[in-house]
Symmetry: D2
Subunit: 262 residues, 4 copies
């Protein structure tokens, strides 16, 4: 059976990324507490294709992922999966992007009742044949923001809303950055965190906390920047904050990226 993918290409163009996208698979993610969490992953996996190769081997991506989806994944396993891809696809470079909802148990502030909050996460890794590994962790956390201007100028009340803060971070690979820790660092910078389960005594605490802690989208962004600078091992980060303004049908938005000296 002829292998068309294996024929020679004459156009002289090395392709930076080729592979599969929007593949849905169950995966396991390592938790900070030593356990592992089953997640639904949406996956893009690609390799670099040399200029003389007509095509890559699409089915091998699925084979590699099928094997790995049964072992708990963190940044280190991302590197191992990519090393597999480099060998099995004879590639100079491989890329893997795993997006998934990760659940954290949070305790309500007064009743101490527990509930799960969903956090949108992504592991994005690139590995070269020479072993250079670039890993990016993305964590998107819902929050409450309360507008300082609205509070200041109004006789009573203040508009507030749900927002999402998203951090992408690169860090020293001899460190482990747990999603659990990043989330608590991040959400402490909002007017208030959000919860899954709140009884009335909790709702009182959350409402008053937000009112006591008014913050523009700029304030939240700056405070997340400050906290990210302080996390040991962080080398680069990007922060995005987006408030689903309760007084508009559009959002307030801020973003900022920077390198951090070792």
């Amino acid at each position: 059976m002829k292998d068309v993918q294996n024929s020679i290409d004459k156009r002289g163009i090395a392709i930076q990324k080729v592979g599969i996208s929007r593949l849905a698979l169950p995966f396991l993610v390592r938790q900070k507490d030593g356990g592992m969490q089953p997640v639904l992953a949406t996956i893009q996996m690609t390799v670099a294709l040399p200029k003389e190769c007509k095509g890559t081997h699409m089915s091998r991506f699925v084979e590699i992922l099928n094997a790995w989806r049964q072992k708990p994944i963190s940044s280190h396993e991302m590197k191992d999966i990519l090393a597999d891809a480099i060998v099995r696809l004879e590639a100079e470079e491989a890329h893997l992007d795993l997006a998934f909802k990760y659940f954290l148990e949070k305790e309500a502030p007064a009743s101490k009742m527990k509930g799960l909050v969903d956090i949108d996460c992504r592991f994005m890794g690139t590995l070269t044949k020479d072993g250079v590994f670039d890993f990016l962790l993305e964590v998107a956390v819902p929050y409450t923001s309360l507008c300082p201007c609205s509070k200041e100028i109004s006789a009573y009340g203040a508009h507030n809303q749900r927002g999402t803060m998203c951090v992408k971070v690169r860090y020293d690979m001899d460190k482990i950055l747990w999603i659990e820790d990043i989330v608590s660092n991040m959400e402490a910078q909002a007017s208030s965190p959000v919860y899954s389960l709140l009884k009335r005594q909790d709702e009182k605490v959350v409402t008053e906390e937000a009112y006591d802690n008014p913050k523009f989208v700029e304030d939240i962004l700056r405070d997340v920047v400050l906290v990210m600078r302080s996390v040991e091992g962080v080398r680069w980060f990007e922060v995005t904050c987006e408030n689903q303004e309760s007084i508009h049908n559009h959002n307030a938005y801020a973003s900022h990226a920077e390198f951090v000296e070792a």
Copy 2:
């Protein structure tokens, strides 16, 4: 050239709806002020297919829509388009679903500055060969809701958020129900409407209005039900309200449908 669609089907199954979906086309919608508004329509158009027909003629749907997209549309033209479809596709029944963003100019409450707010609308029509016409108008309006419980139990402040109220309505076809009028009827039932453009003096008004007017999702739903009952010509309606709770990462939701006696 053989016409496979025109061959005889032996399975004995008359298909209720067959046609095209997710077609994007520019359309024109009639405004209350006599003008017309260019919109981006997402379209589903189908016909009933008799049991002996193997297939419908997919390209004719596009031909019909291409002709109509240059004339302003309201409920009456929906009927005319469907009548065209019944003739050109030799069908007993035809269906058309046009979804589009419609823009309304709104004046800020204090500064009186003007801005456009986007309203998600749908025209859904069914016509039979005997001339029975069923028309459904859907209008989804963003709003602010402020939680009465949070206001009551908190020493200060109250959580509030953006929400969406959606009304589907059937009415006497000798009446015209303008999107403009339904929207103003609907948004008057929220804690406050939302705006595109608000200066500081407006933000004060909107913040205080919401605080003076706390409403659960149940309250907003009931008040929209009351106002829909009062609109002349309405025969059936369904109301859905969804609050993007600022203290949770999930929504509060309510829905209700009822017939209205003439």
Copy 3:
């Protein structure tokens, strides 16, 4: 602490559905093989609210779901969850909608290699205080369709594309309808099923199978209707087929619903 939700409402409107929506939670779904599958559920849960009650108790929905998410769910547990909701929320009627991706292992036709295909499923249940239980299972299956007209009129080749067939089904509650069985019944009606993992020898089989088996969207719909009529215990079903036409930027669409006599 005042309980505003518990006050009396004077508007005289009983609300059909009120509760929470877009809640994400991990759940467990019963598999046909006796195992259970962890899934990511997107949830809407509501109750009917009597006309004299101002509001429902939003936090109790989350409490009920938190308890249930640790036990494997099928149609029977859906009823039990709703019974819980009726008691804890003092409601006449409760509704639960669980949407999730469910994975099935499929064997490639020639190489027999295995891979997981994702199927979009929903469990939708309604229970009244009197014990009347309405349960709807929704299953959406990806497939290949190959156009009979294109095959007939072209000197060679035929356009084909990915499509989605979606079945909603009501059935006798003393029967169990496994997602696994419905999926295999459904996808046998396409030009060819789709797979996660195909080697070259499989790709040959799938390509030729589709070419040998050309079907309009109408054909696929009718054949799914026939197979659904033949499934023991089915009382009502709705079928929707949508082809992502490879020659257009819009889809071909067909839908049909019917009751089945016992």
Copy 4:
């Protein structure tokens, strides 16, 4: 009325981007034929915020856009809008991202019947106070791809599918790059273009053209790379191709970016 946004910030963090996002507005886009096309724009507009400023003036973004939405826009007007933003928001740098569906009339290959195909476009501009203008045009075009491997190894037929090719391009600002021209350059690299309206004689042409012109996602990507290199004035481009594989429930994907010497 106190202006909280105007107070001094002590954190010492200059924010790279702050403003509004997900604003929907009708806009006008310049066409190659001299006309203008009404479009539905989804907008993000931001400015850089100096470290000593607490907040930006969110309402001014809406005011600026309200004024501009009534004049036809191309790359040049993007610069003018951003210049306005720099003055009115007293900013060092401003960014504007306009995403919209743009419609092109296409003639069917045999019947010569005309229909509109929707193309997803984006104008992305950045202007500094010193007048440095960076403009990026994004154009996403639907197409048909037919698999060379499937054609080669199968006795008959070949799997094919809808795909999307997306080009982002930077070019000399003394040139004008029309969406119309980029689209025709791009879609000529697919196995076949897609159309809105095809009669049977057209379907024959399109089916045979695709079969005569089998291309992997890698082939289409490389041919789009070649054509983009040849467009006069292009300085940088990124190409992404994604095939909605008809035999899988996931996609085949390729991407590549490069600078072009003047």
